[in-house]
């Protein structure tokens, strides 16, 4: 096993990775930007290296700085966490070129699956159902028009280099296609440095279902059940749970089998997530995420498997510690993402210093957070303050427990607001309780009076 690992990330996930490393006896090198000098992981890791100013481009997205910090401190591997460079094939290559093991799929695979149009083709070739759309990236508005006329409206224009809900535009009328296409192209260029786009049919009210897989890189793949991430705001997940409530067992098995099949086809290595849309009894493949995901705790809570540990094992060549037979799904788990945002002001981020910080605790409650009393919420990074995950034998108890946990979370700081109470409203919402909700639940809630 590695003796030293550099964690190329920040916030709760950096701390999450450091914890497993410590349990495995691995020395941890954290990195921090100027605004993270006093961060939880900076104090937690065996060493913390200052890599740059607050701007991600010059710190957490700075491959040269990360690799240099790793080499200077004797790291043998780099764990990228999620976001930032976690799915960047170039970063993976640079690591390998410098003798550092990148904890994730090989660069070549990251490249193929990172191209969302190509990933969709690979899935289709593997026999997975996909939405009608362009079979490759499109370059001109004319190409787009042809495809659009073929598949019809509403449709969605996606950035080839996008993913995770970013870089998408819904078009409901052919007259809007031209303008939407131009804008999407500009945004894609600006956001991902890659103007390529592709088009597919847009499903109005679908469920977001994803399957967690672990691959040993030698063709061996196990799945750890599905997650329902349908509670989203502007395509950003707020609440995730497993198993997917109300999903017919047979359909769940078909989706999970599809994910395993697709992962085997590409010889998947490490932790990955196959995302699907489910709409009255049918499912279609959306994309693959080649990283540990924010919502991985719910899978850990029902399986008992430490996903970061499996990532490190595979990266170190030890293979997986579990076979499919070892994977026993037990009970229900729900994760709530608490953001430092003000739901009453259109979820505007609320930076400030947290003077009181008392996370929930006690039976069957798990908290992943980088917060602490005195923690400064900055505008430099995403506003997620904590993930509160609960486990219970059934969904009714899990919802009650999640509500209890959210209620007891104390976050006090001048100017700081959180989404706790909003999330509790989601938990109370009839559609959510009945598991009849789709990805538009939160947007409809925000149109309801008390959120006018």
């Amino acid at each position: 096993m590695f003796s030293t690992v550099l964690i190329a990330n920040r916030g709760e996930i950096a701390l999450r990775v450091a914890r497993t490393c410590r349990e495995m006896g691995i020395r941890t090198i954290a990195v921090c930007s100027d605004s993270d000098r006093e961060s939880a992981v900076a104090r937690y890791a065996d060493k913390c290296v200052r890599i740059g100013p607050a701007q991600p481009r010059r710190s957490y997205l700075n491959a040269a700085a990360l690799v240099t910090a790793a080499l200077q401190n004797g790291a043998e591997a780099v764990h990228p966490g999620y976001g930032f460079l976690s799915e960047d094939p170039d970063f993976a290559e640079i690591c390998e070129a410098n003798g550092l093991t990148f904890v994730g799929p090989p660069a070549a695979l990251l490249r193929r699956l990172g191209d969302k149009a190509q990933a969709k083709e690979i899935a289709r070739a593997a026999g997975l159902p996909v939405l009608p759309g362009s079979s490759r990236s499109l370059l001109t508005a004319e190409e787009a028009r042809e495809v659009a006329d073929r598949i019809g409206y509403p449709l969605i224009v996606k950035a080839t280099a996008g993913g995770g809900g970013r870089g998408m535009t819904v078009v409901r009328d052919s007259r809007d296609l031209g303008r939407a296409w131009g804008q999407a192209r500009a945004v894609a260029q600006a956001t991902f440095g890659d103007p390529r786009l592709y088009i597919e049919r847009f499903l109005e009210n679908a469920r977001h279902i994803e399957v967690q897989v672990l691959g040993d890189g030698r063709g061996g793949v196990v799945e750890l059940g599905e997650r329902d991430c349908s509670v989203q705001r502007r395509r950003q997940k707020l609440i995730e749970e497993t198993p997917a409530p109300g999903l017919p067992r047979e359909l769940s098995e078909r989706i999970r089998a599809a994910a395993v099949h697709a992962a085997c086809e590409v010889n998947y290595a490490g932790a990955g997530t196959y995302e699907f849309l489910v709409d009255d009894g049918d499912f279609v493949f959306m994309e693959v995420n080649c990283r540990i995901q924010v919502e991985h705790p719910v899978t850990e809570l029902v399986t008992g498997i430490d996903l970061v540990r499996e990532q490190l094992r595979v990266a170190a060549g030890y293979g997986l510690s579990v076979t499919q037979a070892d994977v026993q799904l037990r009970g229900v788990s729900i994760e709530c993402r608490i953001n430092a945002e003000d739901p009453l002001r259109d979820f505007m981020p609320t930076p400030g210093t947290v003077t009181e910080f008392l996370p929930p605790s006690g039976h069957f409650v798990r908290v992943d957070t980088h917060g602490f009393p005195g923690f400064r919420v900055t505008a430099d990074y995403d506003p997620m303050l904590a993930k509160v995950s609960v486990w219970a034998p059934d969904r009714r108890q899990a919802i009650a427990r999640a509500d209890r946990a959210l209620q007891e979370f104390r976050v006090v700081g001048r100017g700081v607001h959180t989404t706790q109470e909003f999330l509790r409203e989601v938990l109370r919402h009839p559609a959510f309780r009945a598991a009849k909700h789709t990805t538009d639940l939160v947007d409809t809630m925000n149109q309801e009076p008390e959120h006018g």
Partner: protein
Amino acid sequence: MTIETTDAAPPGIDELCRYAERLTESTPGPLKSLRVRSGDLLVELEWSRPEAVTVAESGTTLATVGVTVTAETPTAVEDGTFVVSAPLVGTFYRAASPSERPFVQVGDVVVAGQQVGIVEAMKLMNPVEAERPGRIVDVLVADGTPVEYSDALIVLAPA
């Protein structure tokens, strides 16, 4: 940030001492200990009565106290000198190559923008420049030493 005010150490301490004096006046009893920290504006007075403590603090947890020096702007030190710090993480070199002479020596006078060293990261030689004119009074890091982003490298005094 609090930190920046903390950085301006001398005035901060002055004020804290004034608060301390005022607080002693308002509280009778023999003083046992007095602590002044500029780390997060903490003043602590302790009387011989063990449980009697006066604390004046801004912010809450000392765990979060820290000083941030940004590499963007030169850092002021009490005596008016300035520090040139590492623009990125890498290895500090005083000369373009082992055979050549160092860019600067103690005593040299440099102009703003003049190269005073190199930080090498992944074979890339990144010039380190003096942000403002001055005279080199100290070189804090030996040639070939690994440095982190914003490590202090060279001390300049106004020319």
